[in-house]
């Protein structure tokens, strides 16, 4: 008996299980290009520096992907980041700048971010507004609050804060511990029941509701988690810049969306990968550093970065198509 020619696998295809594979490929190519343009850029120190700068975007992209999984979107992540940034910086200053003040402020910051996320969830899910415009609006509100907390950029944080962030433990840079923690977080999250429910909601909201899933709660939770991780991103930014800035994150919002897409997650929801989003953030970081090292003159850098992101997006699409054939 001959098997029909299309004998389909009884398993998920490799790509369905690891949707971040194209992103990994692009990442490898970019590493190579960076190495060619400037061999020094591949040194341990340079990689550490790159991670230090783009760790915040990694968290932000992972945060964004949770919301995207349920086929929503959060255009306020950057504003949440800014708000948490200034809240933490101002609070540390007010509490006197000691070690416990720093810790307490960080906790409060994470709480503020989570609350901002819950607020988003309530606005989008509770009031049934379109997420794209609703979070655009809440983002402006958060920016307004941030400007009220700290009207102008400045106000340095205590040395201990950025020394830790930029320092080493057991000869390994601190940021790599954070990366490892992020990896662990992702590893754990994809194994929760919640993520299956979240994906089901993003896949087909009506079907999920009809299956008896608490759709409202699931979506609000995604916004809350997104806010919380955006707050962690804010802590990374503080570690990197060592000061408060009420608009520091605003430009990062759409970068986070781009990172999510680069990582192989569909904006239509229902499938994707958080690890991919983190890789997507690194891709954006490497693109920017490549454009710098390739010696593009400063007035053309934005142009080159934009084109490079487009190329990376197209490469992702092409690789995906190849693999799924």
């Amino acid at each position: 008996m001959s098997l029909p020619s299309h004998a389909m696998p009884h398993q998920r295809s490799v790509f369905e299980r690891f949707p971040f594979i194209p992103a990994l490929g692009i990442l490898a190519v970019l590493l190579l290009l960076n190495g060619i343009a400037e061999p020094n850029s591949m040194s341990f120190g340079a990689i550490t520096g790159l991670t230090k700068t783009y760790l915040a975007l990694m968290f932000l992209a992972v945060a964004q992907s949770l919301v995207v999984f349920s086929s929503d979107i959060d255009l306020s992540v950057g504003a949440i980041l800014s708000l948490v940034n200034v809240v933490v910086v101002v609070l540390i200053e007010r509490l006197g700048g000691g070690a416990d003040a720093v810790l307490l402020s960080c906790l409060v910051g994470v709480l503020v971010g989570t609350l901002a996320g819950v607020f988003n969830g309530f606005v989008v899910v509770g009031l049934r507004l379109q997420p794209i415009v609703a979070t655009f609006a809440t983002g402006i509100v958060f920016t307004g609050l941030a400007l009220w907390v700290l009207p102008v950029a400045g106000m340095p944080v205590p040395q201990s804060f950025w020394r830790t962030y930029g320092g080493r433990i057991c000869d390994i840079p601190f940021v790599f511990y954070v990366v490892a923690a992020l990896g662990l977080l992702i590893w754990l999250t994809v194994r929760t029941k919640y993520i299956i429910q979240l994906m089901a909601v993003g896949d087909n909201r009506l079907a999920a509701y009809q299956s008896g899933l608490p759709v409202t709660r699931i979506r609000i939770k995604a916004f809350a988690l997104c806010g919380m991780l955006s707050a962690v991103a804010a802590l990374c930014i503080i570690g990197d810049t060592a000061s408060g800035d009420p608009v520091v994150g605003n430009a990062m919002t759409l970068y986070s969306v781009a990172a999510v897409v680069l990582g192989g997650t569909a904006l239509s929801g229902g499938s994707g990968s958080m690890l991919g989003s983190a890789i997507g953030a690194l891709i954006i970081g490497l693109i920017n550093s490549f454009v710098f090292f390739a010696g593009v003159s400063s007035e053309w850098q934005n142009f080159a970065q934009g084109v490079a992101v487009l190329v990376a997006l197209m490469a992702g699409v092409l690789i995906t198509r190849r693999i799924s054939k």
């Binding site: 020619s5 696998p9 009884h10 398993q11 299956s211």
Partner: protein
């Protein structure tokens, strides 16, 4: 005491009355059939019991006490599970994940346990083991499955909730006979366990096979409940349509008008090879309806899709009339006079979120090279096409999702009737369409055939296939194994041919 009782349940959507008066009592250990034509309110009634649609009026009693069912979750807590006509599956999730999804929140723990979930799903997959077909697997995303396989997953998902009251809204519309038999065995077992079942189908034979009582619903009102053993098909049909005159009872379609002289070949396929199709050759004459038979997934749909240019690759010779078909794309096929009607409307047919008008006219617009179209002139044409099949809709500008399942399917069919092609490829075209409209559809198709069209028909319902085809090609494993002509077109020969090589 009835397990579930509805009295005067009513649901309106604006000016549309989806369900005017729903009365129903469901006993333990009973299979209660709900019958009615397309748009009569069966799904609405089901969804009200399921908690996904809230009734405007009426009383629901569960085990003797009055209840409100505000959400599907509440229904679940009452021991109610529903098979949704349009399914409630997540396309990117695996078979196991979909089956376990409703129960996921109830189990303890933060993390999922793959092994546990598989173990939980397996007992519900097992009864269907022999009819799952190619490409089915525990870990396969549901979106990659065939329409009938997806329906089986929805059945398993319904069973996995371990409910006391089960509602099946057209669970068999894409299943073939072997699959239906497995399902019937499951239903009998549930019945013996004292579960209560509401069963909706447009297939008469199944209803008499499994049902105890039947409630007939007409224009949103439940008009009569009777014991199936004491009633006849004619009586049911008469009550459904409300016509007193005894018209043609069974939807008998006149056999093919004997083709005069030498028929002209309209479609000639030689050595067609495509994914799932293994070297298939045949000819269809103008005026002829050629049926594709056999068990599900033996290459019938795959061949139709390949002819239409919807398969990834294709080789072989295809001639439409005298022109050789070049280009493997639906666009090229449409240009060459092919049409493809799929029963998998959610995937291939319905343009989600757009109006009924927009869903009816695209092919007509494409063929007539309309760049600017006035809704008024197009509307008149669309209306005519839709009315031919007795499509029930409010206005052409309502979204397609506001239609009942069968009526959505009629829109998909009408799309092609508006601009009749040379060759019509019908891939389970009547999925969800009621008996009366089905007869009308085949009458229209016969007319079109008589005017020179060639028609290929695949149907998961054997009776429909045998009644309407002039010849039947039986498929097995991607090849055609037999041709049934003349008196051979019987169930016996069809089963025999379908199973002999399997």
């Amino acid at each position: 005491m009835p397990r579930l009782r509805l009295e005067g349940v009513c649901k309106r959507y604006g000016a549309t009355v989806a369900l005017g008066r729903g009365d129903l009592s469901l006993m333990p250990g009973e299979v209660h059939v709900l019958m009615g034509s397309n748009g009569s309110g069966k799904s609405t009634l089901s969804k009200i019991i399921a908690g996904s649609v809230r009734p405007d009026e009426g009383v629901i009693e569960c085990d003797g006490s009055i209840v409100t069912i505000p959400s599907p979750r509440a229904a679940r807590d009452l021991g109610i599970a529903v098979f949704y006509q349009e399914l409630s599956l997540a396309a990117h999730r695996s078979v196991v994940e979909n089956i376990c999804l409703p129960g996921l929140g109830h189990a303890r723990g933060l993390f999922r346990n793959r092994a546990e979930m598989t173990a939980a799903a397996e007992p519900f997959i097992e009864p269907f083991e022999s009819v799952l077909g190619e490409g089915f697997g525990l870990d396969v995303p549901v979106g990659r499955l065939r329409a009938d396989q997806r329906q089986l997953v929805e059945i398993m998902k319904t069973l996995a909730a371990r409910p006391d009251i089960l509602i099946f809204d057209e669970p068999t519309s894409a299943l073939d006979r072997a699959q239906v038999e497995c399902f019937m065995a499951v239903l009998r077992k549930l019945k013996a366990d004292g579960k209560s079942i509401i069963f909706i189908s447009h297939r008469m034979d199944e209803i008499f096979e499994i049902g105890d009582r039947v409630t007939i619903i007409r224009d949103g009102e439940t008009v009569r409940t009777s014991v199936l053993a004491d009633t006849t098909m004619e009586e049911i049909l008469r009550t459904m349509t409300g016509e007193e005159a005894t018209g043609p009872a069974a939807p008998a379609v006149s056999a093919a008008v004997k083709t005069p002289q030498r028929p002209t070949v309209k479609l000639k396929v030689s050595n067609l090879v495509a994914p799932g199709v293994n070297n298939v050759s045949f000819e269809v004459a103008a005026g002829e309806i050629l049926g594709f038979g056999g068990l599900h997934g033996q290459g019938q749909s795959a061949a139709l899709r390949a002819l239409f240019g919807a398969a990834q690759s294709r080789s072989g010779d295809i001639e439409v009339g005298t022109t050789r078909l070049t280009g493997n794309s639906p666009r090229a096929s449409i240009r060459n006079g092919l049409a493809y009607v799929s029963g998998d409307r959610a995937r291939d047919g319905v343009i989600e979120g757009r109006s009924i008008l927009e869903n009816t006219v695209p092919i007509y617009a494409l063929k007539n090279h309309l760049f600017v179209a006035s809704p008024r002139s197009l509307g008149a044409k669309a209306q005519q096409a839709l009315e031919q099949l007795q499509t029930k809709y409010q206005t052409l500008f309502h979204p397609i999702n506001s239609l009942s399942g069968g009526n959505q399917q009629k829109v998909v069919v009408s799309r092609w009737l508006m601009a009749p092609p040379e060759v019509m490829l019908l891939d389970d075209p009547t999925k969800g369409i009621d008996i009366a409209s089905k007869a009308e559809l085949f009458r229209v198709l016969r007319e079109l055939a008589a005017a020179g069209m060639a028609i290929l028909l695949y149907s998961s319902e054997d009776a429909e296939l045998l009644e309407n085809s002039d010849r039947v090609l039986v498929f097995n494993n991607g090849r055609t194994v037999r041709e049934l002509v003349g008196d051979e077109r019987t169930r016996y020969h069809l089963y025999h041919a379908a199973y002999e090589a399997a």
